[in-house]
Point group: C2
């Protein structure tokens, strides 16, 4: 908080005891979400609504020879069957835009419908629009695609071999981009000098986003207004507007994107997919509204996947436990096409390889590699879980090699001065890493857990692990509008879009405190690209930092304008006004008072002095220039059954520090959700492709999302280190659990299996993989 | 235009030759309106849409004894039948708010459904909601209302007699309000001193708005968002939001009003009616969306009517034609209930009684009188046609009495100095009344028309008449938002709402010139209360003045921000930048240039210098402090058949001066439409009530709206006297024709019939009324 903000708070508003910020008030959005009253995209019904279904490629890599749509077109209720030729004839680009910044090649973007060649199984080849979904689905089955299959490659290391199939002529060895961070020479020297070098070859398993609600869009073209409206399950309505503008060659001013309630995002609803573009294309072509809702299998085959790193990593450590250097070489699978900026994404991950530690030399080389698999894009955590898994597994392995308490090794290397710039260029803003570690260890009873016997009475191997983490949060611009109406009620809008995060509750708390009005008088609206100037969206743990500070700043501006209006109404100098509990007074001048509602009414009518504009609202574009770094320590205790490979998480303690907490209950909810997802990665989830590019995990029967009984009780702890980067002092918390949990769980399991001489078991730690490791160890 | 604006224009933008302002560019909205692509409220369809129909009172004045809804409720498809008891049980106010400012009594507002008593025929007594309109209508017929009729009164003079029925106990003699303007004593003295006193008893006939689209609303309650959305055929979305907020006791932040295309307004779509409130009430109660669309007959019975003045007026004139004094006593029928501020409306009319003339003494007393008729509210012109009819008929009669050329009498009394404050307190901003008169006379060939014989070859009496007028235009606050998107396209929004006026074209012209971008890149959006902070609406000839200046001011602010951003991009001092044809350059510093689109992209991303907010938009609340007075002279030549009473308008010349004309074609269209409506009042339209309060003109069979062949060719002329009250120099033109046409037509007919000794025939000049006058004169 700035000094000005502190001074304002001293003069105005409720006392600290009455502030809403910091209280775990109930989420106002839950009633609708829990009772079914919320409207999701697929709930939208219109009498004339047509349905679009994709014909998807059954093979992973093929040249399309012909597409026979005759039979489908003649079926009852079919309005149109589209192929790439129709898109080309219409002269719209029809290609999802990608950023080619930093690429080694210039790949075409993802075509809405396949153009000559398909490059992954499930890629849309044709689109059928019919009067209802059943007819569309039947007709899609009747489309006859003749394709000449060619060899496929699904692994990013195999894809770089000379004999591998080529996806794009101008991408030799299928490499889309290479990036380097840190200094190679210094790092090589330091590794050579270190007393010990710990090496690991790590797989960060490929994940598939499993939001409760699959992707969906309803597009309609208003011929009168010449305007496209797309209802879309979106994390970023303005972002989607911009991308649809490019794909369809329509001005942004002619597009409105409305995001209703969104049933989970995890990143893949921030990307632009063929579905919404095809629905919009069809709606404009046919003049009827068109709905497209992905099937679960369609979402699995062709939604963006996450992670999929193969990493060779070495950590140089001295005898006394001092970390000397980290050398990392990562092959990142980016799938068959880029989506948005996805081909450049591997570059983001390196900057967090330093974790909480003072590692003087780090070098990271990353190759983004095309394969015949679904496109990869950001998935909750988006590069940070991959980085933290490398750092924390190496530190865990080093402790084992040096026979040190892993907590002590970490403590000895933690960064203690802030701000600090790491060897990979990240500038950590604030933190107390040692306090966080200590509190987590205390809460878990670290020493007691460490002193347990190797096996329990049932013969299960007992282990304990921990992972520290640092997470870069926030970034970019966000807009926040605070608008007081003439009756004194307030509408708050922002360019973020909550899809579970509880912004309506959080923003209302922030604005209620800043404005000094009751939270019940504050409505929060998101998700309409028409409603506010511009927005960025909800991803990257950014909403409270960027959207929260934007609405806070707007609320302060509204309060100051209200003060000036009140001064005019009370005929008193503005500096002599007091504002408490929503009432302006000027005790030195008059016994009269004016409520906020009085002032709001006057603002739109008779109460505006000369030289001041009417109205009572403010729009803020908050720009986060400096990244806020959340951090924490998670401790896990496990019991591993050597017979079945079953891993029982007996304790899970999460200590997280996201700076000031607007609503601690919501923060804890975010931590729990993230940890559940991190446990999913560590133990269950894995997208499996056969060598020919067939996705073997294309349904929930084969892709194992953890169910509620797979997730243990999670004990949440917190420290609070305000961020100096923003007035609210907040940092993001939306992804922390996905970053901390995987290495914490794997470290614990590796600790349990240490007596068997097992150094490393990689994710996911399924019963099968653990049992295999035990069997390989000779048990 | 201010000097600053002139300086900006010299430095920036296209040269005058290329400016769009002043050009009659085609209306961009016409294609959709003419081809049926536009969406009107009744076009809105939803699968679960229920239909609401009113049960209306068949009698004009009665106590309700009982309402039996049993039969209706049991009919198939009926969802609910509501009476006042249901509204009362729900504890919402259920009463349309009125302003009681200046009233002599405190009448209750109009209840959504009748409460104990009905006071006019057609008043809603019950509402039936059913699955479709047919079922709702059938069930409405089955509602059994038992009522005890009492005597009714429909004439505002009879209503003030001691034996008249009483509508409200606290309104003695049924007088709602009395108002006075001007000085009584001075006026009485001047009348007594004048050489001649011309007296007329005038009726300003009661009119019924006949928009192509009747009133309609679609209301839906979003239980998830706890929010009411009402699609409404509205001239004022924000105004309706505020009134619905009061009627339903919902915060404004929980209401969204969206006005789709509106098929004509004429004032009665600016008022709050029971229909939209009842639809909203039902939607909230039932949890399904509810549509209500008035029947034509329902609209005629219970929409707001217009005019209905009875006036006794005297004009004092000296022998030399000098106007000395005007004394006016008006009984204004306000119907059975007030709507909004309607009960106070008669007070507005007096301030224009001075017309274009320097009349030193004026006194006007107005009584607003309740009767058992539909509520009266503002109807295109809204008090000004009533005032001008009084002034111009008296001046016409005075010319006859003094045997002067009516044009000369007018010229001798015209105001020539500006600004001028009249005896009734209006301050005229600018004008050249004599020039306007001369140009109109020249265009019409006044002297030739005057010198025609009394009768033509067919025996028809020939006449020529004229009317000058002054119209107060604009007023109040309006908001205008100009938002540049990151692709350089622009969205313009305003709180006005076009319902035929062509704002999309006009505003795009204004903003294109101010911003220096192509009009095709500019989209104009109105009609969504969520889209902008606050708005006032379209009525009172206010949109171009208030909305036009608001968007112009916002566009200038956007241009200046773009200039600052461009200076940063070009690394040149902002004052050295030139801006032409949408391109910023700094020739003294660099050969590089930046387009407006380049700057817009930078505004949302990487191109924003420290200390400047991202984004490229501006919101202006334009407040019109001083009224702009449009003026003009209309000349009419007629031939009157004494056998049939048929009036043939042989020439109609309209000269209007509305200051700067953004789009002369649209201005002319407004003039033609207004004149057509004025001819409708002068010759055809009249709401007729029987003594028992039965509306005898409750359909288009009985209420005579002029058809296209009833409207003559209208020759449009213009002078241009910019208004000093606003930067654009504009005045309103939406209502001028309705103000000028009625007295011009009546003066011409009275001139034609002068040889028969007929001094005055009142409106409407139907064949019947003219023939009666001729017969009474002994022909």
């Amino acid at each position: 908080m700035t000094d000005d903000a502190r001074a304002d708070r001293a003069r105005d508003g409720p006392g600290d005891a009455e502030r809403l910020v910091g209280q775990g008030v109930d989420r106002r959005e839950d009633a609708a979400l829990l009772t079914g009253d919320a409207t999701y995209t697929d709930d939208i019904a219109r009498p004339d609504l047509a349905s679009l279904t994709f014909v998807r490629s059954e093979v992973a890599h093929a040249d399309i020879e012909s597409i026979d749509t005759t039979a489908a077109e003649s079926m009852a209720g079919v309005l149109a069957v589209y192929t790439w030729d129709d898109v080309a004839d219409s002269e719209v680009p029809g290609v999802l835009p990608i950023s080619t910044h930093g690429l080694d090649c210039d790949p075409p973007g993802h075509p809405v419908l396949a153009r000559d060649r398909v490059r992954y199984q499930g890629q849309p080849v044709a689109a059928v629009v019919a009067e209802d979904r059943y007819r569309a689905s039947d007709a899609a089955d009747a489309v006859d695609v003749t394709a000449d299959s060619c060899p496929a490659v699904v692994d990013q290391r195999e894809a770089q071999r000379p004999d591998a199939p080529t996806l794009y002529e101008d991408a030799p060895d299928n490499v889309a981009a290479t990036s380097e961070l840190g200094d190679r020479e210094t790092t090589d020297d330091a590794i050579a000098d270190a007393d010990h070098v710990v090496e690991l070859d790590l797989t960060n398993n490929r994940l598939i986003p499993t939001a409760l609600e699959p992707r969906a869009a309803v597009a309609r073209w208003d011929a009168g207004d010449e305007r496209l409206t797309v209802d879309l399950t979106s994390q970023s309505p303005h972002g989607h507007r911009g991308k649809l503008s490019t794909t369809l060659d329509l001005p942004e001013s002619d597009i409105r994107v409305v995001a209703p309630s969104v049933g989970g995002g995890f990143g893949h609803k921030g990307h632009h997919h063929p579905g919404e573009a095809a629905a919009a294309f069809a709606a404009m072509d046919l003049g009827v509204p068109v709905k497209w809702t992905a099937t679960r299998s369609g979402n699995y085959l062709a939604g963006a996947h996450g992670r999929d790193h193969r990493t060779a990593a070495e950590l140089g450590v001295d005898d006394d436990g001092t970390l000397r250097a980290l050398r990392v070489e990562t092959d990142a699978n980016v799938g068959a096409y880029g989506l948005g900026s996805s081909l450049g994404m591997p570059g983001w991950y390196g900057s967090l390889l330093s974790g909480q530690y003072d590692i003087p030399a780090i070098h990271c080389e990353t190759r983004a590699v095309f394969t015949n698999t679904a496109p990869i894009h950001s998935y909750r955590g988006a590069g940070r879980p991959e980085a933290n898994y490398v750092a924390e597994r190496l530190v865990g392995a080093a402790a084992r090699e040096l026979d040190l308490d892993p907590a002590e090794l970490r403590r000895g290397n933690q960064i203690t001065e802030f701000p600090t710039e790491t060897a990979v260029g990240a500038t950590y803003d604030s933190g107390d890493y040692e306090l966080g570690l200590d509190e987590a260890l205390d809460a878990a009873g670290w020493d007691d857990l460490r002193s347990r016997p190797d096996r329990d009475d049932e013969g299960r191997y007992l282990g304990v692990g921990l992972a520290c983490y640092v997470e870069s949060t926030g970034g970019g611009m966000e807009s926040g509008v605070v608008r007081a109406h003439s009756d004194g009620t307030v509408t708050v809008s922002a360019g973020t879009h909550s899809h579970g995060q509880g912004h309506a509750t959080t923003y209302a708390q922030i604005v209620a405190d800043e404005l000094g009005v009751d939270a019940d008088a504050i409505g929060v609206r998101e998700g309409d690209s028409d409603a506010i100037p511009q927005g960025t969206g909800t991803f990257g743990s950014r909403s409270t930092i960027t959207g929260g500070n934007a609405v806070a700043e707007s609320a302060r501006a509204v309060r100051e304008k209200a003060r000036a209006l009140a001064a005019n109404l009370l005929d008193a100098p503005v500096d002599d006004l007091a504002y408490r509990d929503g009432v302006f007074s000027a005790p030195a001048h008059t016994d009269e008072t004016r409520t906020f509602a009085d002032v709001a009414e006057a603002a739109y009518g008779w109460g505006v002095p000369d030289g001041m504009d009417p109205g009572l609202e403010a729009t803020t574009f908050f720009e986060q220039d400096e990244t806020a770094y959340t951090f924490g320590t998670h401790v896990v205790a496990v019991a591993v059954d050597p017979e079945t490979g079953a891993v029982d998480i007996e304790r899970y303690v999460a200590l997280d520090d996201c700076g000031e907490r607007i609503n601690p209950t919501i923060v804890e909810g975010q931590v729990r959700g993230g940890v559940a997802q991190g446990i999913g990665q560590a133990r269950y989830e894995q997208a499996v492709y056969a060598d020919d590019g067939t996705l073997e995990t294309d349904s929930m029967l084969d892709y194992a999302v953890p169910r509620s009984f797979h997730v243990p009780d999670i004990e949440t702890e917190a420290t609070v280190t305000p961020s100096p980067t923003n007035d609210l002092g907040v940092k993001g918390i939306g992804e922390a659990g996905t970053i901390a949990a995987p290495p914490a769980v794997v470290n614990a399991v590796c600790d349990a299996l240490a007596p068997l001489g097992i150094d490393h078991v990689d994710m996911p730690l399924t019963g099968d993989s653990v049992r295999s490791a035990v069997r390989d160890a000779g048990e």
